[in-house]
């Protein structure tokens, strides 16, 4: 009983609650048909949101105004870089992944350079950067769909007993991210900066380095995600990351991370990502029209967050 209460007090539980509810509603509609397949599909698709969501979470935790709007463009460019480097050749998979990571990190570094050297607010800096990246991508990839090597494509879709291996790896990754956040100096620094950047500086936190690393991390995860997406969706293209602009922010905030900064929530990212995919599944399964689907999506998001409620203000 008491443990149930502490569980309910955790902000992330609500996103899992929402996911479960939506899933139950769907299988109630189909009479139990396809329930397992839905979870498999949800896990495979949620992975991509979770990876960028974690990067976005670290950035948002840096405090108000911090957000990485360059993720979609980053994903698009990295997907093209990865596919071009791999060039359909299984032997080049690792090199391609590294290239995507390097590309993402370079983008993160440029973002922070704009923020730090030119004192541009992060939201505008990353938005401007994303325009430039998009152009680079267009002229580099020419808008063409570049195919992944078969080995890589199969890997992104590899399942063991209906559980995507990529999802298992991502779970391990998020556990690692949780540990970094709570138990490593870097993570604590991020949390401190998010609560009060001046106090953090005065408490000896290396503010500049932490912010730099955070934007790099977000960039790197965007790059990795781009490569994986190109594998799963069988080809890189400029638009491949578009939906992750809103989705990466949505999973972070629905998952219980504070937009005011200084408070992050790793499991919530998973819960929210599954919730969003299963919500799409449910509405697609119900077969409602687009308009109704959008309205319901919105109302359900508002409903879940209202049920969860915010935290009480301190003093």
């Amino acid at each position: 009983m008491a443990s149930l209460r502490t569980l309910l007090a955790r902000p992330w539980i609500w996103s899992f609650f929402g996911a479960l509810l939506v899933w139950l509603a769907t299988i109630a509609f189909t009479g139990g048909y396809g329930g397992g397949g839905m979870i498999t599909a949800a896990l495979s698709l949620a992975v991509f949101t979770v990876i960028v969501g974690v990067g976005q979470m670290f950035v948002i935790t840096l405090g108000p105004g911090n957000v990485d709007l360059s993720l979609p463009a980053n994903i698009g460019l990295a997907s093209a870089v990865a596919m071009k480097v791999m060039d359909g050749n299984d032997a080049m998979i690792a090199v391609g992944l590294l290239a995507a990571l390097a590309c993402g990190m370079a983008i993160g570094a440029v973002n922070y350079l704009l923020i730090w050297a030119l004192r541009i607010p992060p939201i505008i800096a990353t938005l401007s950067a994303s325009f430039v990246i998009q152009s680079v991508d267009i002229s580099y990839g020419r808008g063409l769909q570049i195919k992944p090597p078969p080995g890589f494509a199969d890997f992104t879709n590899w399942q063991v007993f209906g559980i995507p291996v990529l999802a298992i790896l991502t779970v391990l990754f998020t556990i690692g991210a949780g540990i970094v956040l709570q138990r490593m100096i870097y993570g604590r620094s991020v949390l401190a900066i998010g609560q009060n950047i001046r106090a953090a500086w005065l408490a000896g936190v290396s503010v500049g380095r932490t912010r730099f690393l955070t934007y790099m991390l977000s960039g790197a995860l965007g790059g990795l995600d781009g490569a994986l997406l190109a594998g799963y969706f069988r080809g890189a293209n400029v638009d491949i990351g578009n939906e992750y602009l809103l989705a990466s922010i949505a999973v972070v905030v629905i998952g219980g991370t504070s937009v005011a900064g200084g408070k992050a929530n790793v499991p919530g990212v998973w819960g929210a990502a599954l919730f969003l995919v299963l919500l799409l599944t449910m509405l697609n399964t119900f077969g409602v029209s687009v308009g109704v689907r959008l309205v319901l999506t919105g109302l359900i998001i508002v409903g879940v967050i209202t049920a969860a409620g915010g935290q009480k203000a301190l003093r």
Partner: protein, 315 residues
């Protein structure tokens, strides 16, 4: 018309169809400028498929003093204000693909409704027994999506052996389409065919494979990867389907129409119907090698084609 300047207003460049459109346009107009048929033919692209941005772009082209504007519009109606201003300034406006409804402009129209209807007609050839269909729709709230959808509904009405059991929104984006199909598949009964709006076929095929569902007949959209996949399936077990889409090169037809109007032709009808580009089981393999890897099938028009098309449309 050697002194006339023609501008091309485009609102997006990030996919292979748009890239092919720009390529075709570039090839034809460069030659036209070199041959002194027109004075200048400049291309202006905005980023985001946004209506207000393109409206502002058109207004700025007016200020630039162009004689004609060729436009692929983000919205058929919402740009009318800006188009009217252009016409009032004496500028010839020719729209294609994304057409505008403002009466003073010219429209190079593809009969999308017929294309949708044809999809079902063709499906009936490959699946004479009929069965369940999955429909993938395009970007909600746009006129092309609406027209193709209407055509498909008409086709299904004419072929009662077919039933649409699921409908998802693919936003004309392979990633979104594949994701949407993946979420709905687990709960769908067996599907014999997929009708879509072009370009989503490959993503749909991947989603069916990932879910381990039998491969249905998927109507294709003239992209290289779609035709390539079709070829592989055909070689494997004689798979049959049909492919249709508007040719990106229609931009060049619009260019020539603008040139003809500038040349003083007064008999050009404001609505020019041109056929869409379709491939059948017999001719698609011949076309395949000519399409760049990751690109889309196209066709460039000549001045004579334009004259002929105008003639064909004069009633």
């Amino acid at each position: 018309t050697s002194g006339k300047k023609i501008a091309f207003s485009n609102n997006y460049a990030g996919n292979s169809w748009r890239q092919a459109m720009l390529d075709s346009y570039g090839i034809v107009t460069k030659k036209a400028v070199a041959d002194k048929v027109v004075g200048a033919a400049d291309v202006f692209t905005t980023a985001d498929k946004e209506v207000p941005t393109q409206a502002a772009q058109v207004q700025n082209l007016i200020l630039q003093g162009y004689d004609a504007i060729v436009i692929n519009a983000a919205s058929p109606d919402a740009l009318n204000g800006a188009i009217k201003q252009a016409c009032d300034a004496g500028i010839v406006v020719v729209s294609f693909d994304g057409i505008v409804t403002e009466p003073c402009a010219y429209r190079v129209v593809v009969d999308f409704k017929d294309m949708g209807k044809q999809e079902v007609e063709q499906m009936a050839k490959f699946q004479p027994k009929g069965g369940n269909l999955l429909e993938i729709r395009g970007l909600a709230g746009t006129s092309i999506d609406d027209a193709i959808h209407a055509g498909i509904l008409e086709g299904v009405a004419a072929h009662p052996e077919f039933k649409i059991v699921g409908s998802v929104t693919g936003d004309w984006d392979q990633t979104t389409a594949q994701k949407a199909v993946a979420t709905i598949l687990p709960s769908l009964p067996d599907v014999v065919g997929v009708v879509d709006q072009g370009g989503d076929g490959y993503g749909a095929a991947q989603a069916f494979a990932a879910a381990g569902k039998p491969r249905p007949t998927i109507i294709m959209g003239n992209r290289q990867d779609e035709l390539q996949w079709w070829k592989e399936q055909k070689e494997k077990d004689g798979y049959q389907t049909w492919s249709a889409s508007i040719a990106p090169g229609v931009s060049t037809l619009a260019f020539w129409v603008a040139q003809q109007v500038l040349d003083g032709r007064t008999d050009v009808p404001h609505d020019l119907l041109v056929p869409y580009l379709a491939f059948t089981q017999d001719d698609f393999e011949a076309a395949l090698p000519k399409i760049p890897k990751g690109g889309v099938a196209s066709h460039e028009y000549t001045q004579e084609d334009a004259v002929a098309a105008i003639k064909a449309n004069i009633k």
